[in-house]
Symmetry: C2
Subunit: 701 residues, 2 copies
Amino acid sequence: MNLFRFPARRAFAHCAPFPRRTHNCGDLNASHVGARVVLAGWLLPGRKGKLVSFFPLKDSYGTTQLILSHSQGFAELSALADVSAESSVLIEGTVSLRPEKDRRQGTTGEIDVQVEKFTVLNQAAPTLPFTPSNPFNLPNDDLRARYRYLDLRRTALSDNIKKRNFLEVETPVLLRSSPEGAREFLVPTRLPNANVSEKPLFYALQQSPQQPKQLLICSGGVDRYFQLAKCFRDEDGRKDRQPEFTQVDLEMAYVSWGPDIPAPSGFSDEWRIGGSEVRQVVESLIRKIWLQMEGITLPDQFRVMTYREAMTRYGSDKPDTRFGLEIMNITPHLPPDILSAYERNEEVLECIIVRKSRDSNFIRASKACKDNLDTCHIHFSQSNAETWLKGSGLGCELLNRLTPDRQVQLNTTLGLRYGDDIWLSKRSALPKGGSTSLGRVRLRLSELAQMHGDFAITADPHFLWITEFPLFTRADEDKDFLAKGRWSSSHHPFTAPMWQDIEAMYRGDIEQVRGQHYDLVLNGVEIGGGSVRVHDAAMQDYIFGKVLQVSGCRREGSSFYSLIGTLLLAFFPNAIFLCVFSFVSTFWWLPYATLAIAGEVPLAEHHLPISNFELTEQEKAPFDQLLHALKCGAPPHGGIALGFDRLMAILCKTQSIRDVIAFPKTSTGTDLLFKSPATIIEEALRQYGLRSRAETNTGGA
Amino acid sequence: MNLFRFPARRAFAHCAPFPRRTHNCGDLNASHVGARVVLAGWLLPGRKGKLVSFFPLKDSYGTTQLILSHSQGFAELSALADVSAESSVLIEGTVSLRPEKDRRQGTTGEIDVQVEKFTVLNQAAPTLPFTPSNPFNLPNDDLRARYRYLDLRRTALSDNIKKRNFLEVETPVLLRSSPEGAREFLVPTRLPNANVSEKPLFYALQQSPQQPKQLLICSGGVDRYFQLAKCFRDEDGRKDRQPEFTQVDLEMAYVSWGPDIPAPSGFSDEWRIGGSEVRQVVESLIRKIWLQMEGITLPDQFRVMTYREAMTRYGSDKPDTRFGLEIMNITPHLPPDILSAYERNEEVLECIIVRKSRDSNFIRASKACKDNLDTCHIHFSQSNAETWLKGSGLGCELLNRLTPDRQVQLNTTLGLRYGDDIWLSKRSALPKGGSTSLGRVRLRLSELAQMHGDFAITADPHFLWITEFPLFTRADEDKDFLAKGRWSSSHHPFTAPMWQDIEAMYRGDIEQVRGQHYDLVLNGVEIGGGSVRVHDAAMQDYIFGKVLQVSGCRREGSSFYSLIGTLLLAFFPNAIFLCVFSFVSTFWWLPYATLAIAGEVPLAEHHLPISNFELTEQEKAPFDQLLHALKCGAPPHGGIALGFDRLMAILCKTQSIRDVIAFPKTSTGTDLLFKSPATIIEEALRQYGLRSRAETNTGGA
């Protein structure tokens, strides 16, 4: 099946796979004449003619003039003339030399690009707060500050940022507090007149630069961003976590499916999502580090595995592939009646076989390992050869139907020998969460075998990408506070669905939707994660409002939205929810802010009681700016964050990140050297409009 | 006068100028045999013999074995054998080859250094919490965390930090809140059991990494540190200030007076303080930036000017030397009776002459410039040639004695011509603060002349070091909260006095004491500042307790302190305060924490009322760790911080730092894009043990 030309998907064409840029808009000159090129950038207002139109195409590097011929069978292209200014477009065309009289100074002043094909990647809303490409009509400072992501698209400003950091951009640490404020650190601010009854005001310390970095790329001011970002999380004491930590943070515009869009082959060991540029940059970075620091040459491309395969074979979404003991699905080998019963229940029966022959170095570990509630441990011998599965005590009545004959048949299929150990478990057919019971047993066996000195794990680093995670998960107890029993984002609500699953998402098959998320795993440790982001405001809107189901959610109407809505309705007439589009005129969102700000960092739990959950107007819109930025012609983009502390701990071959941090805090977040946190005097609290509850309780007022 | 051999200064020998290291302790090998070298590092426990003793000398790079001969007229050297382990020492000696049988693997394993001279730079306290050089007897994690600066001296740990950052070290952003908490941002932490009456606990966001970076260098784990440090200050809205900003932060061990200690010449355009390595590194960094970004080759060494000269000639501690209009002191040209009256009052009369001949491009500006209360503006003409000074209206009766004759005589001395403009002002003879009235007039004249198009200022960058600032200033109103009408540090309390002024400081001539502080000024803008730090715990103790006069201050006694105290008493028998040494046995300090944490950043003002100033035990010791670290053989050290935002604004030729920050905040600290700060729900406050005052006032409880 060709996934990319399915007609119903025209509505999502702007989210479809697209090829990698061959050049940026500041690259081309006379030496490229005749070359076929792929460019991406913002379409600026042009001169429209009857036969030919001219449009400047701008990106973070420069501007190239496009020529659009309205004749000669290029009629279809004329639609480009109707695309609103500041929209993000991909152009395929041929470089042509300008007539002598039209040549200008500067790199791209000698050439034009004859447009042969174009894709609107993100249509800008027809009216923007202001037009960054027009330097003569800039609004006042406050308006520009409010829409900083448009202001940064101005060359004058983005040049400063570029000069400053060579594209290493610093983002604010002091961000907005989200309504629940459960797991961020808050920073109270002094009130102008603290004696009057003013509500206290707070910043929040960034959990990751997720929103700022997306806004930066949306602005177009920066094409590729990186930062060694200091991040903060107010977590309950966990081993190997710090309240402040550092991540290597990347974000890139126009991340694509690669130089040539891969034909889908059906294999699950392929990178079948966007973000190929992120993959390439990270692999090259990691290769350099390992070569320089360890003297190890890593492969040109790291292995890729889908979430489903990782969960099935290793029982983990961050599998340690340095040793075997792979999990085996027994279900297909069961007699048809039992098999179909399992299928009806959407369950599978799986096992790890510790073979005396092949896995002798794990036999002692297997003996020493304790069963837990979800697994069962069987030593395979003559005495139980005909009954072990039936009598496994996994509480599965189905297995009672298993006759000795069939059992022996299964033994043969599994290649069992006396002396082998079997670890058995049952789980739901659709893998969920980060690990399965057998996945945990597998790791324990390796640990024990190493402890016993039976098994020496390889020193070679095993890098592995895990992709195609489920985009949404049923909120578990931890996330229930935010999701209220509905769906929640597996990583964060900005991750784009896989192109192949967009329809399913709009159809409401939420469980089936896979995200364009990727985790980088090293030796069973997640060292980074990221995704291709949603760049379509309507889709982001839908994810917030419909999938994550915020009740009472209203949306901003615009003719562009109406258009998308109408298109969607045309293709999915049964999708009643879509009629919400275009009828209402302001957003507001219930608080997904922690989800949002948590960014690349895995989501934290939320324990705050929700009974008293009242939001002021001010608290309702932590995503306004991102949604609006998406509407201003944001390019498709994606990024990643690598956990710097953990990476360094691995390179330093130490178990604790505290050994690679100059002044660490304890697992409970205290600093024994600087003796923080500490109390402050009540007087100091007053200026923030705060008082201690203890003070009030002991009679002070 | 030879300032460096004055016998009374033996007591301060460990603070005296010392030559630059020629090598580090990991450098030397057989190829250096016979070379005369200067090394610095920590003296480790050695093998003491009758004739010869061996000591390892360790620094951040390696270990070199020292040989100390007790015979052959080296008797004086034997004292080295009595220096306590982990003391910081400077060694001068000659490299010798080891006998074949004693040679070891590794760089320094083939050689020894025959000690010819040594200086104890910092004697370690005789009992340390633990001995970092002994890997076999490490205390528990908590104790090591508390004394992280000793722990980091262990090679195993410091190697991790080095591997991590190539000596770029990250320091904590979440630091300790100081008792007053006036100008830091505070971060409340969740309480384990928020319903019980617990006192709320807070971190404070770092104002600069001042204490961590000093501790890092004190540890010996890192020899030269740098960081692009994010800093935070809760300031009232100021133009061109941000609540979060970035500084290029440096700190270096063993900063010295240069390869050869300069003989003091008496000229005030010389670098007559320590920290020559900091100067060199910064100049080289700035030269590289200007060459790369501006194509400008800067001079090999930047100009140096003392604070006194800058204030006298330019009326500013950050003079803009791109134009003339220098200030002239008239006082010496006045008749003797008037002159001596001025001298009695400790005042000077000074002027700026805008000469029609030479300064014609400032004449229009001078006309347009407004007088203020402290200056007087005179247009010199035939009509006032004999009376202008007498009638200047500066409110100075002394000038009434000036006869027309003497006035004309003065006119000749000053070279006045009709049509010249004179700006006149009177000030105290000892310059104070950041600028004088005439200094401000001078800048205004330049601004106006540029506005009128009469004067085009040079595009060449004028870099300039200002040194020899007064170490202490009488607390002005702003700093009065902390200093309570006593002395306060001009920059911060960790800056070392000039070697020449140590005696004056201990004598109580506080006003005379100049600090080893240096500011880097570019075109009249301060772009950085730093200092050589106090590395002597007793001196730091004295500065806190006696100069900054914290009442009720007690000090820790130790035999080393007794020794210093006794020596000081011997040389300064009238210094009664010194007997405080050695009698008491614990520290506690009133809250200088803002002074401390403010670090390189100029001190902020403090408005908090002090009436209710009660400190808990926990709040009393924000400097314990630094003072203790100084006692563990801290090396002499110094550093600097450059304001990165301002530097970039200058390079980008923009007036506002907001133009070089991707997502800036307004001058009142609000973020119009992310809409921060924002309110939070009262529920969220509860977990921090806090409540809103507004809530309480409106009846909630």
